[in-house]
Symmetry: C2
Subunit: 201 residues, 2 copies
DNA sequence: CGACTTTCTGGCTGCACATCCAAAACTTTA
DNA sequence: TAAAGTTTTGGATGTGCAGCCAGAAAGTCG
């Protein structure tokens, strides 16, 4: 069913259920996020979720789409506005960490889903592609900097993996230590990778 | 029951079951690693596992202990043998990636367990401490380099998080892309963090 | 107001799983 | 070899879950 053809009630319910799913997953972890629990959070019967989404998997997918949209909307414009690759890299790192500050719970929910969800058997997992895209996008910035002569001669893919790895490690820290100094962390990460990528004297 | 007081059969069974658990978890993922499946892999009845380990949780703990021991035995001597912090950091990164090469399956199993296991509710999770220790150990190397004047003036904890994040991102890549060039990755990661940490001219 | 559609409820069903257990098979001891 | 101990089997039990459905409630339109 397309968004345009949805009732007002339909839209409201979907939004409410997605919000409650995010809340429950972020607070109690993916494994404890049962249909019943999400329904209880929304103060509705669990059948309603099946009615509007068709099952648990589609609901989870909707949550992922929602959070991914939030993140893209926040970060993409910032990155594209930069005049140089060095500044784009800075904006990339800052944007990621800013998102963690502004949307803690949605981010935690996303991380829970991406790390815990799996589509039967050892296969790539349903969100491997998402991770791959994140790496490739970052590689584009690095490529830009290499072309422009701003960066030193490193292996793009490895550098992309290192940077994303460092960023992806933050939610876990944030989760277990809420008093984490994100500003400090942001400054230090930007400094570290600016030094690590720049053309050496 | 202490290791010394265990029968020959007891020891053999425990080792066999742990090996099979590693195999199953690494090949099929934590979620698909049921008692029945591990038992089938070992060609025994599932009751035997309960008999020797007392349940699933203790088995998983035993697996973690086993792999952690493997890793420590490989890496610690290498790191302690280095004459400078810079070389210790190199040995740390190389040791970690060498471990991934030599013990792919045990490592995958460990990662699966650490990311998927959880002890009810949102609490710290049973292996949060393990991760914390890994960070703290790395901080010791960084502290050494700072004291010795080899490294620049960065925030130790953030740098430790970045380095571990980069290393921890590798298993995921390795898992979905077995033809990954680990040698290249190792060289590049060492180069990147050597540059990122060294005293700037 | 009625017919009709959309939305919701609460409980039922079936499945996958860890755990438990009684008895069988095996091993050690005397 | 018999008795006592250990190990293994295979199935029974109970739990927690997603999905399903019959009917109730709420909303819409002539």
């Amino acid at each position: 069913m397309q968004p345009e053809s949805r009732t007002f009630i339909e839209e409201a319910r979907r939004a409410q259920i997605i919000a409650c799913a995010i809340e429950v997953i972020a607070e109690h972890g993916y494994a404890n996020a049962t249909m019943a629990r999400i329904a209880k959070q929304a103060k509705i019967s669990s059948g309603v979720i099946s009615y509007h989404f068709g099952g648990k998997d589609p609901l989870i997918q909707a949550v992922v789409a929602e959070v991914a949209k939030l993140a893209t909307d926040l970060m993409l414009p910032r990155i594209l506005a930069q005049p140089s690759a060095t500044e784009a890299l800075r904006a990339y790192i800052e944007g990621n960490l800013e998102f963690m500050r502004l949307h803690r719970k949605p981010l935690l929910a996303l991380v829970e889903i991406v790390t815990h969800a799996q589509g039967g058997e050892s296969g790539p997992g349903p969100y491997a592609e998402q991770a791959e895209v994140a790496i490739t996008d970052l590689e584009k910035i690095l490529h830009w900097g290499r072309q422009a002569g701003e960066f030193r001669d490193f292996h793009q893919r490895t550098m992309a993996i290192a940077i994303r790895g460092a960023i992806d490690a933050v939610p876990g820290r944030l989760f277990h230590d809420p008093d984490f100094d994100l500003d400090l962390l942001t400054r230090e990460l930007v400094a570290t990778f600016t030094i690590a990528t720049r053309r050496q004297p």
